[in-house]
Amino acid sequence: MFDAAMEGLYALLTLENVIYLLVGVLFGVGFGFLPGLGGIVAMALLLPFVFGLDPATAMCLLLGAHVATVYNTGITSILFGIPGASKSLALTFDGYPLSQKGQSIRALRATAFATAIGGLVGLVFLVAAMPLLKTVMLNLGQPEYFVLGVWALSLIAAFNDGYMARGLAAAGLGILLAYVGRDPISSTSRFTFDQLFLQDGISIPVAFIGLFAIPQMISLYQQGGTISGTRQVTRRKEIQKFPDIRNNKQLIAKSSLFGIFIGVMPGVGATLGNLASYGQTARATRNPDPPFGQGNIKGVVAPATVLGANEGSELLPTITLGIPGGESSAILLSALIVLGVTPGPAMMTENQVLIYSIIWVVFFAFIITTLAGYFTAPLFARMTTMSSGRLVPLVIVLCLVGAFSVHQRIEDVLVATGLGIVGYYLRKFRFSLAALAVGLVLGGLLERWLHISAETYGPFFWVTRPTTLVFTIAVIGTLLLPSLRNRFGRTQMPDPINVPDVEQSGVH
């Protein structure tokens, strides 16, 4: 194993590979920031350029872009409260309040370092535990995925402090939105109102732009002033000593494990891992100061670590089983096939050097992205001092153009606008947009897992299998815990869903 790892490293140490890695990272830095675009688009754009390249070189380009966008999806989450992707949703909870307090540089740099550390820990764990994780993964089936998905929804709904019913209702709305379009099982058109453009359903990037960007801009318009309201204060000594990382070593370790274990779930591991890690951190922290949802740095460090750690575990099913762990892994898979490499169990024996080259590429990409994130943080943070009169139209234009660019359908602009107006009023009346977003992401998958589980294991699959029974108990506990805590006199859980609105924000 050590020999293969070293061979994989030597295969990378050429000028050509270094240049391609840098180009990939820079490309990813630019793309991950734009709404509607992101890691998938960045990798898809680069895919034609990998033909004819050596597999290791191709991985430098693709994975460099991908890793950079992992970090960059967090930038809009922190600066504007607009998640760049579903997996960076949890970063909005405390990241945006930190921006409002004039601490966006702190939040961005903490994100950069936490993502890198999580990624590096995830890679080490991936290498060490690859055989074991493969066994664990094969024992997790559709019933477990279903109950874990329900757990994620209950977690986010339970955080809608004092309004758990509304949180659950919002999750239900999100799930119903996910069912717009053709049912994949029976091809029945559902909730399409005979509109052709709704046959393919509501695109998640379009929905996210509508649900988060537009309400945020409406709030900023009402609030006036700037996001931060103050000039950025960078206390050089503190930032150089990285106190947010040093003081949260245990949290980073725990979140890395979350990212690794939950991240192996194909398709939604990153989203679930983020939310679960955030939820666990909020629960486990006694007397948080400031409260979660009001700019607690732990609320940024935990999900950022998961973002990075998830990268390794998303690669695991791709490499070992030939099953893409996510959309970007699907592009990676197609690139490998085009280059003549067949991912899957055989790759572990026939292309072990390439596997380790891939791991080293991700390793170096994280380091370069962290440095890029560290030095560009002040530049990005300046946007929080822009007046709303200039920021609002720019963001609105970029967001709606981004919404159009997803499928090049003008109707998506209307969908984003409509969802934005609905989202504003839902948020105003304490229906959790985060729960709605997670419901939207998980809705289709939950239905598929439910159908398969019920047909394979019967309608009571959620209690007849030991692992699903454990997860089901976790769901019940999550839903009951807020009431139990109130009954036994503990302080109510802080409301981390502090997506700012007129009531919460203001010029400082």
Binding site: A165, G172, T188, P393, S405, E503
Partner: protein, 188 residues
């Protein structure tokens, strides 16, 4: 103050009822799907109907309880404010500090009319690429009250960024509006 509390309570109740109605409608529509297609949406709709009914009942119970405890809370000082009062107090506390700012409820409508409606209408009329700089120019000039030069610079830069990314790099076709206008150097 009392009128504001009542207004908040009414708006909150309307919001809950609207969401309840949405779930009722979803359940009714789901009934018309094939059995496999209706399973998940019907289950979700029915569950959420129960949840919203619970919310309405709890709301009523809290409202009754807060009425009974109003006099006690004056002596004890505990926060037994009902939901509407809490919302009203939070809104009061968070009133924008800058003078001349519109009230939240009216300004959300203003925001939609000032921000979203003109831009979306422009997109449909003249297309995305011309609409973006036009909207940005006039918004920054009229709403942000910046200079003509500053507004023009923002408009041109935004157009260049959008054009180079979406048309130049991604090669996307950008919607040209109902009149299918082609404007040299601006339309994609």
């Amino acid at each position: 103050m009392q009128a504001q509390v009542q207004k908040q309570e009414r708006e909150d109740l309307i919001a809950v009822l609207v969401v309840f109605a949405v779930f009722l409608a979803a359940a009714w529509m789901s009934w018309g799907f094939t059995p496999k297609a209706r399973l998940a949406p019907l289950f979700v709709s029915a569950s959420c109907i129960v949840i919203m009914l619970t919310e309405l009942v709890m709301r009523f119970v809290r409202h009754q309880a807060s009425r009974q405890h109003d006099s006690e809370s004056e002596l004890v000082g505990s926060d037994t404010r009902d939901l509407a009062t809490r919302l009203a107090d939070e809104a009061d506390e968070a009133e924008p500090t800058s003078s001349g700012s519109p009230s939240p409820s009216s300004s959300s409508i203003t925001a939609i009319l000032t921000m979203l409606a003109p831009f979306v209408a422009l997109i449909f009329l003249v297309g995305i690429l011309p609409a973006a700089p036009i909207f940005i120019f006039f918004y920054i000039l009229l709403v942000a009250k910046s200079s003509v030069l500053s507004s023009a610079v923002y408009a041109i830069l935004t157009h260049l960024v959008i054009w180079s990314l979406f048309v130049g790099l991604l090669g996307l076709y950008m919607y040209r509006g109902v009149f299918d206008l082609y404007i040299p150097f601006i339309s994609g």
